[in-house]
């Protein structure tokens, strides 16, 4: 390594090779800051999802309002991440791993923002259900919400740890999600056929489950981003 630098000069003691990390300290600080923001975004969305699920279960209109207001913060943070990443790419000229990481973070932030939208939609459905005669919530929906949340958490962990293995594990839970969604689908159809006056509630619940299933897909996308970051290959982890 020593001889690569300063070719043509006589080899002198202590040339310009400091420890690896400190050469792009400014850049690395910026990168860390962006990662922190994305993680924060992930935590926000997780919280939104949980509250939406609660609102749905407990017919809590106020909590649902909370969630809808909270979406603004999610969008704002994602916009901020976008600007930061644009700036870093323009100014620091990242290469190889660094640019894959930035692109992965950029994409993950976009996915998280969509997930936030889903959470908001679920909150709206909760409010609609609350304004109608009560129908017991399909337990699978709550199950789905919990599963989504744990998957999102795992995906964020995989992003932090930059672990290909953890990322692939995240995608394993997706089958169960699909299975739960199918169950809800059947339950909803059955409810509508048996008690047509409850068709509205059944449809709301079906939509909620649909949002959750889509949310799960987005989580898988984030996991794919992590795999891309590590390996440089784009794989479909959710065929």
């Amino acid at each position: 390594m020593e001889q690569m630098t300063e070719s043509g000069d006589p080899p002198t003691i202590g040339a310009d090779e400091p420890t690896r990390a400190s050469l792009r300290r400014t850049f690395e600080e910026q990168l860390d800051s962006i990662k922190d923001d994305v993680l924060r975004l992930g935590a926000l969305v997780e919280a939104q999802l949980q509250r939406a699920g609660q609102a749905l279960l407990n017919r809590d209109v106020d909590l649902a309002d909370n969630v809808r207001w909270g979406d603004g913060e999610v969008n704002e943070l994602q916009r901020q991440v976008n600007l930061e990443i644009t700036s870093v790419i323009a100014r620091q000229g990242p290469m190889a791993r660094d640019i894959r990481e930035l692109l992965a973070l950029y994409h993950a932030a976009a996915e998280l923002e969509r997930m936030g939208d889903y959470a908001t939609s679920i909150a709206k459905l909760a409010q609609q259900l609350a304004s109608e005669p009560e129908v017991p919530l399909f337990p699978e929906i709550t199950h789905m919400e919990q599963l989504c949340r744990s998957q999102l958490h795992a995906a964020m962990r995989a992003l932090v740890d930059v672990s290909e293995e953890q990322a692939r594990d995240v995608c394993l839970g997706d089958d169960e999600l699909d299975h739960l969604y199918n169950t809800v689908y059947e339950d909803a159809i059955t409810l509508m056929q048996r008690t047509p006056d409850r068709a509205r509630q059944a449809t709301h619940m079906l939509f909620a489950a649909h949002h959750l299933e889509r949310l799960g897909d987005r989580v898988t996308n984030i996991a794919e981003d992590v795999v891309f970051l590590v390996t440089g290959r784009i794989e479909d982890l959710n065929p």
Partner: protein, 282 residues
């Protein structure tokens, strides 16, 4: 001060002396240099035309632009180095903390003690490392033991650890990057206010270059830095503010745009700037 309707007009014809696009405003106590319609001449040839801008304190301001557009000439007018060239003169004013640098009675030697310079090709004196750093303070009249000052300067230039055991060995025996850091230490030793850098990394390899950029980042805490560079990636990485100069048809350089570096490299106000930084000059 962005006037969008001017964007279309700026296609090579030299503009009149208007405020450049994207000029940044600073508070008065933040401003170190203020240029008012500065033009620099070598004899009859005008190298730089009507430049008006402000340089803020404790920040890194980069000047970029194609070769021959007068960046170095502009930089050297800040510390009156152009005085050494026969036939060089200026028009307009440069205010340094509000004082006209070219007024009668201003001593260029004193100016250069406060506004130091690092050059493109590292030029340590053919003397020992110690003597290199000690020369400046000595000619400034500092008496007595200079060991402490030399050590402090070398530390601030991130060179101390590498040379502390060989202060008596010649400065010219160091590697290129080390020599340049020695030159920085030499400039710092007279405790200047401003450090001007004229393409300091252009003769260094990439690792030495990055090292100096990190050093600049530390230095700006105590000094104001103005750097001329033809490497715009360097300006993008390292500076806080960037001014873009280009050449008019009469080969005089003029200021196209100066703004926050982030803004200049992601959303430049002028199409000329955008063409330059995206590499579409023709």
């Amino acid at each position: 001060m962005i006037r969008p309707h001017d964007l279309d007009e700026r296609q090579g014809a030299a503009p009149a002396a208007e405020v450049a696009l994207g000029a940044v405003e600073f508070d008065d106590d933040e401003v170190v240099f203020e240029l008012e319609s500065l033009s620099c001449y070598y004899g009859a040839f005008r190298a730089v035309r009507d430049i008006s801008l402000k340089v803020p304190k404790n920040r890194i301001t980069a000047i970029i632009g194609p070769s021959g557009c007068g960046k170095s000439t502009l930089l050297r007018s800040f510390n009156r180095m152009n005085d050494l060239v026969d036939g060089a003169r200026i028009d307009g004013r440069i205010l340094y903390h509000g004082v006209d640098l070219y007024a009668d009675g201003v001593d260029p030697v004193e100016v250069r003690r406060r506004i130091g310079m690092v050059f493109q090709k590292p030029n340590p004196f053919p003397k020992s490392i110690y003597e290199n750093v000690a020369f400046g303070p000595r000619v400034a009249g500092v008496r007595g033991n200079l060991d402490g000052l030399v050590e402090e300067s070398l530390r601030r230039a991130a060179l101390w650890d590498e040379v502390k055991d060989k202060l008596k060995s010649p400065g010219t025996a160091l590697s290129g990057g080390q020599q340049q850091r020695l030159c920085i230490a030499r400039a710092i030793a007279v405790e200047p206010d401003v450090i001007l850098m004229d393409e300091p990394c252009s003769s260094l390899d990439p690792i030495a270059t990055l090292r100096i950029e990190e050093l600049m980042h530390e230095l700006k805490e105590n000094y104001t830095i103005v750097i001329v560079t033809h490497n715009m990636q360097q300006a993008a990485r390292a500076s806080d503010y960037t001014a873009f100069l280009t050449m008019a048809e009469d080969r005089a350089g003029y200021l196209v745009e100066m703004s926050d570096t982030d803004q200049l490299f992601t959303r430049p106000a002028s199409s000329l700037t955008e063409d330059y930084i995206t590499g579409r000059f023709g």
